[in-house]
Amino acid sequence: MVDVRYDIAFQLYPYAPVAAQTMPAQRHPVVIVGGGPIGMALALDLGRKGTQVLVLDDHDGVGQGSRAICFAKRTLEIANRLGAGQRMIDKGVVWNVGKVFHGDDRVFQFNLQPEDGHRCPAFINLQQPYFEKFLVDEIRVAQDEGAPIEIRGRNAVTALDQRDDHVLLDVDTPDGPYQIEAEWLIACDGARSPVRDMMGLNFDGRVFEDNFLIADVKMTADFPTERWFWFEPPFKDAGQSALLHKQPDDIWRIDFQLGWDIDREKELREENVRARVDAMLGEGAEYELEWTSIYTFQCRRMQEFRHDRVIFAGDSAHQVSPFGARGANSGVQDADNLAWKLDFVIRGLAPEALLDSYSEERVHGADENILNSTRATDFLTPKSEISKVFRNAVLELAQDHAFARPLVNSGRLSVPCVYDGLSLNGPDMLDGPERTRVGAPAVDAKLGQTYLLDRLPGGFTLLSIDAPAPEIDEVDGVPLTHLGLTARGNPFLKERYLGETEGAVYLIRPDQHVVSRWPEASAEDVASAMRIALGKGV
């Protein structure tokens, strides 16, 4: 039996029996457990690289409910690399302005207006089911082009056993159980990860004693497309904080912070949800309740994301509070980080040690996200009398004085992780801009009719800007693509990649992070940096 745990928004991979169910266990190079946004992004990335990948999901489509709604620029850039980004941007609601209120008072407003010369906006709001559907649609396109990706719906992993060179999986289906051998098993099975539980691994962290009520309402309102956030909201029973934010299809996300001791069932009753929403929107507001949910959260991560042949990505590996949109966005960066490493290891082009760098880099990312979201949570929900005194002092001062506004923390929005000082970094020999330093993801820049990131499609790239390109096309069998550009007449490239220097050579990884940069580089410099980035040491 395969239990149905939630309703489906889009049925995208209905159960279909396969021959393997009546055969001895078949061997697969990569099996991904969980077809959420992280699992599907990883499958698409691997499949496009030509690596065979099997996705097992215990449902037959995308779950109902908006859940993650806020997708950051870096996520959209990754989705662009995978071919799914433009539909997300077209469907999503682009927003820049946020307003912060304290009771009836407007504290201040901010504008995330991104600088020019980027293909992607700073943020879009998009219901998670659309995000997942666009990835699966792109997987179907990739399959038609020959990408070796297979999705099996209503296939639930019930047990696993790590062997020397594979993991043996017991899989249940509506037609009964069968077995699969996975050389690499990637657990993208969410915060309650059954794979993590089956392996008895710890997932400790800090529990926040608070309940948040989400009400997604459908209405045609003329509120502006802005993020409105209230500390101590003035409307009846709204709790400690409240949020109003627009999604596509005339859906508005409303969030109420209800506190710890509540009766969940009672608060979720339609009349009680409506009473709160009415108080916020004003009597007589017409809307439909699209989806409601109460959630609590923890900030925590696994000690290590790699356990021999089992690798964890997304919420199964780390969990944060929702303030800052750091959950799904960081999970997509996990997939981005893991895909190329797994691909090279499976092809024999890099040692297995490269996969340890996945854990190292993404643990670093998770710690950054946990730190930021914990701080936001402490500001939202002061844990002592004096912390509330300071919190309210900040909010009061922020109304009159600019200096206090950076202290207001209603969530620090997700920004891409920089792998400062970690093992895969080569030397940084350029006195260049800080934002494109070694370890940082390449910053987009408009190049005439195209964009720089579109020219970094997924292999190692040697980017030479007004500098001679070293003569080197591959290192230990790994190909290297050349991209030669000039910053003359392109202020974006100059400001983002050269700064005060005349020219530069950047070595960029398949996930678009900078490995090394030099004013000028020899073939030996590049080869040596490539070997570091492939996990072969210095």
């Binding site: 005194v389 300071f390 309210n392 002092a393 900040v394 009061e396 001062l397 004085h401 200096f403 206090a404």
Partner: protein, 61 residues
């Protein structure tokens, strides 16, 4: 810059007087709020992160 723990206020008695005066007649709650605002304003004026850390440590004793 180092945290200055030597006398640095020109008119110490006058300053102390003024500090107490702004709290005159306030409830405990309002006084606490005023102190919090004052700390934040002064901290911003100092700005230097190392000096602020040293000040926090000096206040902890």
């Amino acid at each position: 810059m180092e945290l200055n723990l030597e006398p640095n206020i020109a008119d110490p008695d006058g300053f102390y007087d003024e500090l107490l005066a702004v709290h005159q007649g306030l409830s405990k709650e309002d006084s606490d709020a005023l102190n919090a605002r004052l700390i934040l304003i002064l901290a911003n004026h100092v700005g230097d992160r190392d000096v602020l850390t040293a000040a926090l440590q000096a206040a902890q004793r």
